[in-house]
């Protein structure tokens, strides 16, 4: 498979699942599953995908599907692969964890599986907070973002820490393949999943998946907002194949981060100082990832609007 045209028509994650309208998580999981094909075993730890993808005894997956505890993705996929090997079944084993199950809770099992170079595909569907339980901060939450545990208070507004670079941590385990994906970059996405499918050993796919209620965005932006994430440097598309890093898409010029922030309610409270801090961090990230200095683009803050209920109300919208 080289482009979208070659992706099979048959869905593996089928319709009727219960994701929010416009869910970026569902788009990403659907397309990865579709490309991996029916000869796959899917494991999902606690995440949105458990709740919307399969509620016992129903399942949206056509493939065998397993769910256990939050922290186990690395361990359980290892076990599934071992059982298949023992029974001489050649099937792809994929674990689809969220950012909480990868960055925080599942890190030890992930590190163990990566270090042992288990023959599995680990997909991290990163929506940048614990969205399923009601938007709590994770170590994937970007700087300045509002979550229910990093509220926009009077003194401190939003998350104070920068996003952890999990793909680099996994790449430092010397695994065969690590890639970052964005569902809005279609051809790049197809190429990377295909590459992961064909390889053996531990493969890590890190996908940015927009969350409609958690990011406070319009449902229709569930895919296209990823383009802005890449253009502003909030997300970088690269792959590390057998230890050799390669950037697969580089924006021509760096777009000001405010272009990305202004579409999302979770960044609405950000002041000038915070935006400048984030922009400086992005320029540094740009230099580290693309190997060239980027002149800091002018960040124009959108006009301040009246503060809305969901900025403080943890239960807004229920």
């Amino acid at each position: 498979m080289r482009s979208m045209k070659d992706v099979p028509r048959e869905d593996i994650l089928t319709h009727g699942h219960g994701a929010c309208p416009g869910c970026g998580y569902a788009v990403t999981a659907k397309n990865i599953a579709k490309m991996l094909g029916p000869n796959t075993v899917v494991y999902v730890p606690a995440s949105c995908l458990v709740v919307f993808g399969a509620l016992y005894p129903y399942s949206a997956w056509k493939t065998p599907y397993l769910f256990t505890a939050f922290e186990n993705t690395g361990a359980v996929t290892t076990g599934i692969k071992a059982a298949l090997r023992r029974r001489h079944i050649d099937a792809t084993v994929v674990g689809m964890a969220g950012d909480g199950g990868t960055f925080d809770i599942g890190l030890q099992a992930l590190s163990g599986a990566a270090e042992r170079n288990e023959d599995i595909i680990y997909v991290c569907l990163d929506n940048e907070a614990y969205m399923n339980t009601g938007i709590q901060r994770s170590s994937a939450t970007p700087f300045g973002a509002w979550t229910t545990t990093t509220p926009a208070g009077l003194e401190v507004k939003g998350n104070r820490r920068f996003k952890k670079d999990i793909a680099r941590i996994v790449a430092d385990h010397d695994v065969p393949y690590v890639a970052t994906l964005s569902v809005a970059h279609f051809t790049d996405f197809v190429r990377k999943v295909q590459k992961a499918k064909e390889m053996r050993g531990f493969r890590f796919l890190h996908c940015l998946t927009p969350c409609i209620p958690g990011w406070r965005i319009e449902p229709s932006k569930g895919v296209s907002i990823n383009r802005l994430a890449v253009e502003t440097g909030m997300w970088t598309l690269y792959e590390v194949e057998n230890g050799v890093p390669r950037v697969t898409y580089k924006p021509k010029v760096m777009a000001p981060v405010t272009e990305y922030l202004k579409l999302q309610g979770r960044f609405k409270h950000m002041g000038e100082a915070d935006v400048r801090t984030l922009q400086a961090w992005l320029c540094e990230k740009w230099r580290a990832n693309y190997g060239e200095e980027a002149p800091s683009p002018p960040c124009v803050l959108p006009p301040k609007e009246e503060v809305l209920a969901h900025d403080g109300d943890t239960l807004y919208g229920i």
Binding site: M4, K5, V7, R9, D11, L13, T14, H15, G16, H17, G18, A19, C20, P21, G22, C23, G24, Y25, A26, V27, K30, N31, V51, F52, A54, Y56, P57, Y58, S59, A60, W61, K62, T63, P64, Y65, L66, A83, N132, G134, V183, A184, F186, I212, P213, E218, P219, S220, K221, G222, V223, S224, E306, L308, A309, G312, D313, L315, Y316, G317, I318
Partner: protein
Amino acid sequence: MYEIRFHGRGGQGAVMAAQTLADAAVRSGFQAQAFPYFGAERRGAPVEAYARIDTSRIRTKSQVYRPHLVVIMDASLVELVDPTAGLRPGGKVVMNTTHRPEEVDLGAGVDAECGTVDASSIALEALKMPVVNTAMLGAIARVWDVVPMGAIVEAIEDRFGSKLGHRAGILNAEAARMAYDATAVGRTIGHREFAKERRWMPVWDEIPISVSLKKTVHDEEEVGPATTWQHRTGRWKWSTPLYKKERCIKCLRCWWSCPDAAIVRQDDDYMRWDLEYCKGCGICAEVCPVDAIRMVPEEEGGNP
């Protein structure tokens, strides 16, 4: 002690309604508590919220199982859950429906005083959006005389005003007043027998070790892999895609980007929409490079 249970859908503001009712009760000299059901917080999903009102300190912290008052914020919920479960004798029901109380059927055995109001229309008229919580509060004041209307209006103006801006407070209070006037009070007597839920749940020893559950049929319902097709998620949508085939350049972006696999790529690479499952998010219209897809309100109707 009075116990109140709100049945709504995610996004209708059931929790805000419970909190505002508790707020109004405190303003009229009661002790009160309000809290949501702990569960998935998805838009459109059936949700519950609870409130307790008493003259002395409330020590109970559990969910409400035996309510004095049930508030049904969406009439279609009656088909999905049993809102009057545990309703106390003499308990009351407030419902968002276009029907009169005598025409409402909440299931065999239900005989209760009932207030009905077309809160959806009132909310659309007053607030320009289908958030019915404040209109329902007005209807509650009409049916249930424990918390007076004055306190409810005050609580709405204060609570919504401080959170959503002064104007929102005024508009929401107006919605409550309109609903108070429009509520029809009567008696509902249920006759209909709702099918008892007989969900088949295989236990561990029904599934052989190291074999995944196969697709099987139980009680005329499929269980196992790829069985969510039975959940018609297309009912969630408020807008629907309109596809102009002659403009389509077969770029496949909509097909790729649909979260619900509701866009079918046909053999000739043109698209077909499966509106039974389309949730109306509008991603397809957003990613289309040639404006072949447009989102239109559901009433106008899209094309398959």
